[in-house]
């Protein structure tokens, strides 16, 4: 059974870019082991929220707690998968995946190697371990970046548009991998996406972000059901989420107009 205690708590968090409050007194709690899809218009502050949760930036006011500890700097146990992946050109797939583990543990060379190969195998990129990023396909790069993020076994995984830059076929296989890893490790997951199908496929709870960082939650009963993408209910759920988004946007417009 899933532990539904709030694992992450945001209490009255505000963050401004100059005069504009991108996030305004946001209070939010995220439960342990749940996957959250964060959707909303471009420039609404989704990536800013992710950066706050990762500890890259600090809120102007309010506090963030992860596992009851106040977040003041990036945590080792928070994984971040970047939209642009951020693979270093000088690291082979093997070195890239090894790096986070090598940084934080004093494990023997052999055990380090076996850990890396475990992940290479898990993500089906064993043959690529000696290749540099420029020698990898888009999907392989994505898998390397994912393995690099997961090797430290994070308890909280943040992803910024994890499948934006890849083709449709690769996208589905990466999404299946992410879902399989989430189910296996029970990681709390929050990912930003513009793809409603991705949100419905990967998100147990869909969070719609509005102006000022207001968030509406939509539970997704289809989450985790095998082959759900092949059902009509899945597409009906996508249509429902789209309707919700449109409604929220209309609310934003009314609110802005009345101001």
């Amino acid at each position: 059974m899933k532990n539904k205690d709030a694992f992450i708590r945001l209490s009255d968090v505000s963050y401004r870019f100059g005069e504009r409050a991108v996030i305004n007194q946001l209070s939010l709690s995220l439960d342990k082991g749940v996957s959250y899809a964060l959707i909303g218009q471009s420039g609404i502050g989704k990536s800013t929220l992710l950066q706050l949760l990762a500890g890259f930036i600090s809120p102007d006011s309010g506090s963030i707690y992860i596992n009851d500890k106040k977040l003041i700097k990036p945590r080792v146990k928070t994984g971040f998968l970047f939209q642009e992946l951020g693979l270093f050109p000088w690291q082979t797939a093997f070195d890239s995946i090894k790096m986070p583990l090598q940084m934080h543990t004093s494990v023997q060379k052999e055990s380090l190697k076996s850990s890396v190969f475990k992940w290479l195998k898990e993500l089906q990129i064993e043959d690529c371990h000696e290749r540099y990023p420029h020698e990898l396909s888009g999907g392989q790069k994505q898998r390397v970046a994912l393995a690099r993020t997961l090797i430290t076994e994070p308890d909280f995984l943040l992803m910024d548009e994890p499948t934006t830059a890849i083709d449709a076929m690769t996208k589905e296989s990466i999404q299946a991998l992410i879902l399989a890893q989430h189910k296996k490790q029970q990681t709390t997951m929050l990912f930003v996406t513009h793809d409603i199908e991705e949100a419905v496929y990967l998100g147990e709870v869909i969070l719609i972000m509005r102006e000022g960082g207001k968030i509406t939650r939509i539970p997704n009963p289809l989450f985790g059901i095998e082959n759900n993408r092949e059902t009509l209910a899945f597409y009906q759920a996508c249509i429902d989420v789209r309707k919700h988004i449109n409604l929220e946007m209309e609310l934003d417009e009314v609110f802005t107009h009345n101001k």
Binding site: F56, P74, G86, F88, W90, P100, M103, H104
Partner: protein
């Protein structure tokens, strides 16, 4: 055909042949005793190979010591200037003032401070190349995308890890570029550095032949100097290929 293909793939050999050809053409066109025939010079160099080798080794040692010390001084300063905006704001204008000054002009001062021996020669070379290394490294650090630093932050990396996994590998190609330029400048500087208080060094060998008006000897020294340059550039190429294999370049 196989040999022709091997030769055409060897750019160093092509470069050598082209230089000899150009030299031969100039030799025919100008027809003066100050320009000896290439073959005659090469034969002279071959017969004098041992004494010339000693001169080359003396120069090479000076250049290697100077380059090594310039790297030890220049790399940390360059990294700091690249990372620390405040330091760079003060340091860069100073660098731009110093960089274009012909440092050879300071030779009398260096001779007074460090004597006539090897010390002043090596310090002169360091003084000339260290700024090049600082600039290359500083620019290398500044070219690292800020997103790479965010990636390191996402792993809650220590400062030491940032240097180990990000900064040092990212600036390595820039260090090699700086080294190539520095070695070229160092070899050119040998003429000034080795024209006093020494009897060994390829700069001394060329200048001494010049004063004796022995042009075959002078040109043999120039050829030896170019061989030394090629040797050092190739060594850097090999070192670069070994340490930065992701950054493959032709030749």
């Amino acid at each position: 055909m196989k040999y022709l293909r091997t030769i055409s793939n060897n750019q160093l050999f092509i470069g050598f042949l082209t230089t000899l050809l150009a030299w031969q053409v100039i030799y025919f066109l100008i027809d003066t005793h100050t320009i000896p025939a290439p073959m005659e010079t090469l034969i002279y160099l071959y017969t004098m190979k041992l004494p010339v080798l000693l001169h080359v080794l003396a120069s090479m040692s000076r250049v290697l010591v100077a380059v090594g010390i310039a790297l030890i001084i220049g790399v940390p300063i360059g990294i700091f200037a690249g990372i620390n905006h405040l330091f760079n704001q003060f340091f860069s204008p100073f660098l731009y003032y110093i960089y274009p000054i012909p440092k050879v002009a300071f030779l009398p001062v260096l001779m007074l401070l460090y004597g006539l021996g090897n010390q002043s020669k090596v310090i002169l070379i360091i003084f000339i190349i260290v700024f090049q290394i600082i600039l290359s490294v500083r620019d290398g650090v500044r070219q690292i995308p800020s997103s790479y630093f965010t990636v390191m932050d996402s792993f809650a990396s220590s400062t030491l890890s940032k240097y180990r996994y990000l900064i040092i590998p990212a600036i390595s190609p820039h260090i090699f570029s700086g080294l190539r330029i520095s070695i070229g400048i160092s070899l050119a500087t040998l003429f000034f550095a080795e024209n006093y208080a020494t009897t060994y060094g390829i700069g001394y060998y060329i200048l001494s032949a010049w004063t004796k008006m022995d042009y075959i000897e002078m040109f043999s020294g120039i050829v030896a100097l170019s061989f030394l340059g090629i040797l050092m550039f190739k060594a850097i190429d090999l070192l670069e290929a070994k340490t930065t294999p992701w950054n493959k370049k032709p030749f």
